[in-house]
């Protein structure tokens, strides 16, 4: 019993350690002073108002939303079939292919960003939006392949074969039998890939151009010149957004099935 109490104290400490920075940021968003301070003096909502007054924040938020959702959807469109092929068929060099698909996660973001910059901007001379989209698609793909892949590996593919014997063509069996049983994996990978893409700095930094920047890069350059609680307020709003998203997923799917 005593041992368990020790454990729960430890868990509580870890929890506090993880939450403390978030708590501090949240508190600082309401301070009246023009720079981020803790503890705060006074109480105001003005920084939240300011977030919406700075047009670069609003613009880049919508750009980020666009880039991240499009990139993640693209990654799903490419990643689900790829994960299926890797899990279902004994392809030559399956292990090699798997590590290849996961490679963007082990290479430092700056390197990926720079490589993409060289290729996408310098060589292909793609417009900034398309370049960003391509970059974010590439960093999202590994999440899809890995997470969808692991839920496919737990799937008994004889359900697919049974569907064939009952009269399903192969594409129809995939839609009617395989997809419904990996929805949790698809949702989880979408969430992971989306959040990762939405928060990404190194790749966006290299691929952004004049007037076109994602929210994190805009935030970065804002912090370089300003140190007011607008940053905290924006962070609080993003946290709220994530919490609402998580809550909705929990309600519809159950977080346990996602994780």
């Amino acid at each position: 019993m005593r041992k368990q109490r020790g454990l729960s104290i430890f868990v509580l400490l870890v929890f506090a350690f993880l939450c403390l920075p978030l708590l501090i940021i949240t508190v600082t968003a309401f301070g009246e002073q023009p720079s981020i301070q803790f503890p705060i003096e006074g109480f105001t909502f003005q920084w939240f108002k300011k977030v919406f007054e700075i047009s670069s924040f609003v613009d880049s938020f919508f750009l980020s939303l666009q880039i991240s959702s499009l990139a993640t959807l693209l990654a799903l469109a490419v990643g689900i079939p790829a994960a299926y092929a890797l899990a279902r068929y004994k392809l030559p060099k399956t292990a090699w292919l798997k590590s290849f698909f996961l490679s963007p996660t082990v290479i430092p973001g700056v390197v990926v960003g720079y490589a993409l910059f060289q290729f996408v901007v310098v060589q292909l001379q793609l417009p900034i939006f398309q370049g960003l989209l391509l970059g974010h698609f590439l960093i999202s793909l590994p999440y899809v392949i890995r997470v969808v892949g692991s839920s496919l590996e737990q799937l008994d593919f004889s359900i697919e074969e049974v569907a064939w014997t009952l009269g399903c063509t192969k594409p129809l069996a995939f839609i009617k039998v395989v997809l419904p049983n990996i929805t949790s994996g698809i949702f989880a990978s979408f969430m992971l890939a989306f959040i990762n893409s939405f928060n990404n700095i190194p790749v966006s930094q290299f691929l952004s151009g004049p007037g076109v920047a994602t929210l994190p890069t805009t935030l970065m350059s804002y912090i370089e010149y300003n140190y007011d609680p607008t940053v905290s307020a924006l962070s609080v709003l993003l946290m709220l957004g994530t919490i609402i998203l998580m809550y909705l997923i929990e309600k519809t799917l159950g977080l346990a099935s996602v994780a």
Binding site: S158, E161, V162, L166, G167, C168, T169
Partner: protein
């Protein structure tokens, strides 16, 4: 021409090693045929060729006179039951069973009627709206069977359907499968590695080894007259000794002792074999002179209703099962009587 015909089927995954070699099998309408053999003998591959899940490299497969070798699996209209049951986890029992009918674009009423009928037959009517994970293993197996049967398939294919069930349930289920199969008169192919299960359920058994059918016959014939040493070993024959023909129905073993046999054998059949329970163990120097061999008991094992003896004889070590009240202990000199009727040559 039989109802189902497999002709010279060859399957090879790498082009060098054949999983199936020139396999021929004919099944009559309404028969339940088992494919029996150890794992890796090709029985599941044969079933998958029939189902259309594997396309053979060579050979032809036909049902009811129609060549189906190149017909894709979804157009064959065969019902298949898998070892893992393979129920759709996201659908209720009713939806699972109705899956095939829905694909056939039948009306809602027809589907409901047929599904409920089939659930009635398989004793699952009360579970129609549950999900597979809420059911026990035996119930899931029945759902899988119902789902395969409701499409009124030309063939029913069963891939080790009972091996995930516990022993008692397995016996009930095989009886149930047999009953349903006979009631519907559906031609069926049943894959198993369990000889007891296979003998109890089948009209005919194909014993397979390394991609070929070693023997194809009724369970009784296979049980009593295995044709090859492999078949004999697989169905419980333990004792093997070389014999040479000396006279009509009389053979000599390596040490010169003579054995008479009640049956007629091919000249190629030179190995004598007998089940442990068919050997009679007697005290020394009793019993007839022919078909009797002296020996020394080495090991005695208690099996419950009988004892098993390992007996050292001039023709080699023989295993004997005996339920007599007289028991022998290690070191005892005994005589073993091998009856003319039970001695088999392979």
């Amino acid at each position: 021409m039989s109802f189902v015909d497999l002709e010279d089927i060859r399957v090879s995954y790498d082009g060098k090693n054949n999983i199936l070699k020139d396999l021929n099998l004919s099944i009559e309408k309404g028969e339940l045929v088992s494919l029996l053999g150890p794992s890796g003998c090709g029985k599941t591959t044969t079933l998958r060729v029939i189902a259309g899940l594997i396309e053979p490299n060579d050979g032809a497969f036909s049902v009811d006179g129609a060549n189906l070798t190149k017909v894709p699996v979804h157009k064959r209209n065969f019902g298949m039951v898998f070892q893992s049951y393979a129920l759709f986890p996201h659908l209720t029992i009713k939806e699972n069973v109705g899956f095939g009918l829905k694909l056939r674009k039948e009306s809602k009423e027809t589907i409901h009627k047929k599904v409920m009928e089939m659930l009635e037959v398989t004793g699952l009517a009360d579970y129609a709206d549950r999900y597979p994970k809420q059911l026990s293993g035996g119930q899931r197996q029945r759902v899988a069977l119902a789902r395969a049967l409701v499409i009124e398939p030309k063939l029913l294919l069963l891939d080790e359907p009972l091996s995930n069930l516990d022993a008692k349930l397995r016996i009930n289920m095989r009886l149930e499968i047999k009953k349903i199969q006979q009631r519907l008169g559906i031609t069926s192919v049943f894959v198993t590695h369990d000889q007891e299960e296979c003998f109890s359920i089948s009209d005919k058994v194909a014993v397979m080894n390394q991609g070929v059918i070693e023997q194809f016959d009724t369970p009784e014939v296979i049980y009593n007259h295995p044709k090859t040493e492999f078949v004999a070993r697989f169905i419980g024959f333990e004792n093997f000794f070389d014999l040479t023909l000396v006279d009509d129905h009389t053979y000599a073993a390596g040490d010169g002792s003579l054995f008479k046999t009640a049956h007629t054998w091919e000249t190629t059949q030179k190995v004598g074999t007998i089940r442990p329970e068919d050997i009679t163990i007697l005290s020394k120097q009793s019993g007839p002179a022919v078909n009797t061999i002296p020996g020394t008991v080495k090991v005695r094992t208690f099996l419950g209703k009988s004892y098993q003896y390992e007996v050292e004889t001039p023709i080699g070590k023989l295993l004997v099962q005996d339920s007599d009240e007289t028991t022998y202990t290690s070191g005892d000199e005994v005589s073993l009587y091998i009856s003319e009727e039970k001695l088999i040559l392979v």
